[in-house]
């Protein structure tokens, strides 16, 4: 019919849209039931009160806030990594940008949802708008996250327009064709349209970077703007951003490995992509370790009694399992795997990424809980916290919702940008050559 179906390479990218894989509906059923279980748990909590969770006095925040910070952190994988790779014209980015951007849009919604799960009065949510006051870090969060969600949705959509046009042309008449027709915005692939598209993508890529940095900075500010020990720290903003990039790249690697297998994208997501992203992950591992070291050493040397109670609670107290688990999962395992070339394979990077996701979740948890359990008011008994089935259900529900979002997305849009891959196949030699010529010394290249 059209050239795409003749080209066996790109046909695999749209196969999942027009043919349902055999595992698709069972997977949707499993994930859907996990989401329903989470929803049921939420109804339970909604009608009976937050007391159905393990939260208490003084540990008033637990799993929900941990998951909120964790998911918002993951979101940095996407748009930020994709924007940086696009702007630096990294050639190997082409098959992975969309996968990354979808992660962002999905987890941002889920992260935002987790903070709503934590509200005692979700029915009064709109008070944030009626009575909202910008003195509160929560308002900064709301503004920043909704801006980021909007920007990254637009940033996901704009580069997808040519692909939607391809689907529009392939789709048999019906409601689905109308859907693609509307979304394709009349794309014909004219040079002018190409120019506008590239321009818009570049503008969004530049805009999205400061927004992404602001998002995790203000998430950190919720903690650091209080006076609480081990929270009131000036490096919290950058520390959280570094951790966000770190966990984000780890999530990206895992999602890539899964999609590669289930959608047969072996030709697109090659070991070299995992190798390069693995190197990036190693850099973030070391960055994160440096920040953690700086944060804890500063607290330890200051030796302020209130800070030290939290410090020891993490070091060898009731939360030591979380702290040392974090150190092993975020530093020792990834560094060993990622710094040895032989281990930096697809399997190796996936193992390292999995431990990093666990480690980063633990990191968020031991930032939130031990400080609340050891408040400045040391005359009060030390707090403890263990979640109930409600929190566990809502956590699995959150992860299931993320996977479900991906499955639904894969039914409507290609997971790898056909347009960008094709552009790379046709022009990347010229682009790369021109770029090398531009900075190679002594070949007399003069820019007109």
């Amino acid at each position: 019919m059209t050239e795409i179906q003749k080209n066996e390479h790109d046909a695999v990218l749209i196969r999942s849209i027009f043919q349902t894989p055999s595992w698709y509906w069972p997977a949707v059923a499993v994930l859907g039931s996990l989401v329903v279980l989470g929803f049921g748990a939420y109804l339970f909590q909604f009608f009976l009160g937050l007391g159905e969770t393990g939260l208490n006095q003084p540990v008033t925040w637990g799993f929900y806030i941990t998951n909120f910070v964790f998911f918002i952190g993951i979101s940095h994988a996407g748009t930020l990594i994709s924007a940086i790779l696009r702007l630096s014209q990294t050639e190997w980015r082409r098959p992975i940008t969309r996968i990354a951007e979808v992660i962002t849009v999905a987890v941002l919604g889920i992260g935002g949802m987790n903070i709503l799960l934590d509200l005692g009065r979700p029915d009064r949510m709109l008070n944030m708008i009626y009575y909202g006051r910008y003195q509160s870090p929560l308002l900064w969060d709301m503004t920043s996250i909704t801006t980021y969600l909007t920007a990254s949705s637009v940033y996901l959509f704009i580069p997808m327009i040519p692909d939607i046009a391809i689907l529009r042309d392939l789709c048999p008449p019906g409601p689905r064709k109308v859907f693609y027709q509307v979304l394709a915005l009349g794309w014909q692939g004219t040079p002018r349209q190409e120019k506008v598209l590239n321009r818009a993508t570049a503008i969004m890529a530049i805009m999205v970077i400061p927004i992404a940095v602001s998002v995790h900075t203000v998430v950190a500010f919720v903690f650091s703007m209080t006076l609480q020990p081990m929270w009131h720290s000036s490096i919290f903003g950058p520390y959280f951003v570094a951790g966000a990039l770190f966990s984000g790249v780890a999530m990206l690697l895992i999602v890539m490995a899964i999609l590669r297998k289930v959608f047969h994208l072996e030709d697109y997501l090659q070991p070299i992509h995992f190798n390069y992203l693995g190197l990036l992950l190693l850099v973030f591992t070391l960055f994160w370790t440096y920040f953690t070291f700086a944060e804890y050493l500063t607290a330890f040397y200051g030796n302020e009694p209130d800070e030290m109670r939290v410090f020891w609670a993490k070091w060898d107290g009731p939360w030591a399992w979380g702290f040392w688990g974090m150190v092993i999962c975020n530093f020792f395992i990834p560094v060993i795997i990622l710094s040895i070339n032989r281990f930096r394979t697809i399997t190796g990077t996936v193992i390292a990424s999995s431990t990093i996701l666990i480690g980063m979740w633990l990191e968020r948890f031991i930032i939130v809980v031990p400080t609340l359990a050891n408040p400045r008011q040391h005359r009060l008994p030390t707090g403890s916290y263990w979640p109930t089935w409600v929190e566990f259900s809502l956590m699995t529900g959150s992860f299931a919702l993320f996977a479900l979002f991906y499955l639904v997305f894969s039914r409507f849009f290609p997971l790898v940008s056909i347009h960008e891959v094709r552009e790379g196949r046709e022009h990347s030699d010229d682009i790369a050559l021109e770029r090398i010529h531009r900075y190679r010394i002594g070949n007399g290249y003069i820019k007109e």
């Binding site: 005692g120 009064r124 509160s136 870090p137 209080t226 006076l227």
Partner: protein
């Protein structure tokens, strides 16, 4: 050096409390009085075990030394009613704020229950309604609830208000009689009920009031003064005992 009761002078009243730790016997009558006065609900066993009980006024014991040289001190802790409260700054919906007379107010009907104020309070004196605690009360308790104080629904934060409803009553009375509030007219429940008269309450801005005088006492100190929260609950330290 800054005076214990702070330099902040406003023209109106500035309500404050002085607790003489030398007189406090740790009996807990203030806690009981507060619970009755402010309709503070009891919690069920499960919630109690998860340390979710509410006590706006809490007598916190502190044990010093090792056996046999052990001594327990008691420190009644209400909301410190800071002049520079860390909790009000972070509230996203203006549900907790410092009112012009220095009382940190709490709007139960606007609170969204995010608990950021609880996380921000260094004194840990804000409490959350984890369940609908009022519903679990025996019928007689609700029947004899104080009509001046609203019952709190589940999912909102509450704390000591310096018996604000009493101030409203006193103000109404004074306005009807076309006069100022008299010193000592506005009292709080914990103060009224303290058998050893360890709690004093009054206007810190009135130089002749007893609290203003006691706040200048050499024994006066404020909890975590170094944080700059400027609490209006002032403690008088225990004198050295020779026993």
């Amino acid at each position: 050096m800054e005076q214990p009761h702070g330099e902040k002078k406003s023209t109106g009243h500035r309500w404050g409390m002085v607790i003489d730790l030398d007189k406090c016997s740790g009996c807990g009558a203030c806690e009981v009085a507060c619970m009755v006065e402010n309709n503070i609900p009891f919690v069920e066993k499960g919630d109690y075990q998860r340390s979710r009980s509410i006590s706006w006024m809490k007598v916190v014991p502190e044990t010093e030394g090792t056996f046999p040289e052990v001594r327990t001190k008691f420190m009644p802790q209400p909301c410190m009613q800071c002049d520079n409260p860390p909790c009000t700054k972070v509230c996203p919906v203006h549900a907790t704020y410092l009112n012009p007379e220095g009382i940190v107010a709490q709007v139960y009907w606007r609170c969204i229950g995010c608990r950021l104020c609880m996380a921000a309070c260094p004194y840990t004196v804000k409490y959350f309604n984890w369940h609908n605690f009022q519903q679990a009360q025996p019928a007689a308790m609700t029947q004899y609830a104080n009509p001046d104080v609203s019952l709190r629904d589940k999912g909102v934060v509450e704390k000591c208000t310096f018996c604000h409803h009493r101030l409203m009553k006193v103000k109404d009375q004074a306005r009807l009689e076309n006069r100022e509030i008299r010193p000592g007219e506005y009292t709080v429940a914990c103060q009224d009920n303290c058998p050893s008269k360890a709690i004093f309450f009054g206007d810190l801005n009135d130089p002749h009031s007893e609290v203003a005088r006691l706040a200048d006492n050499l024994r006066a100190f404020r909890l975590m003064d170094e944080l700059g929260t400027q609490p209006k609950v002032i403690y008088l330290a225990e004198r050295k005992r020779h026993d």
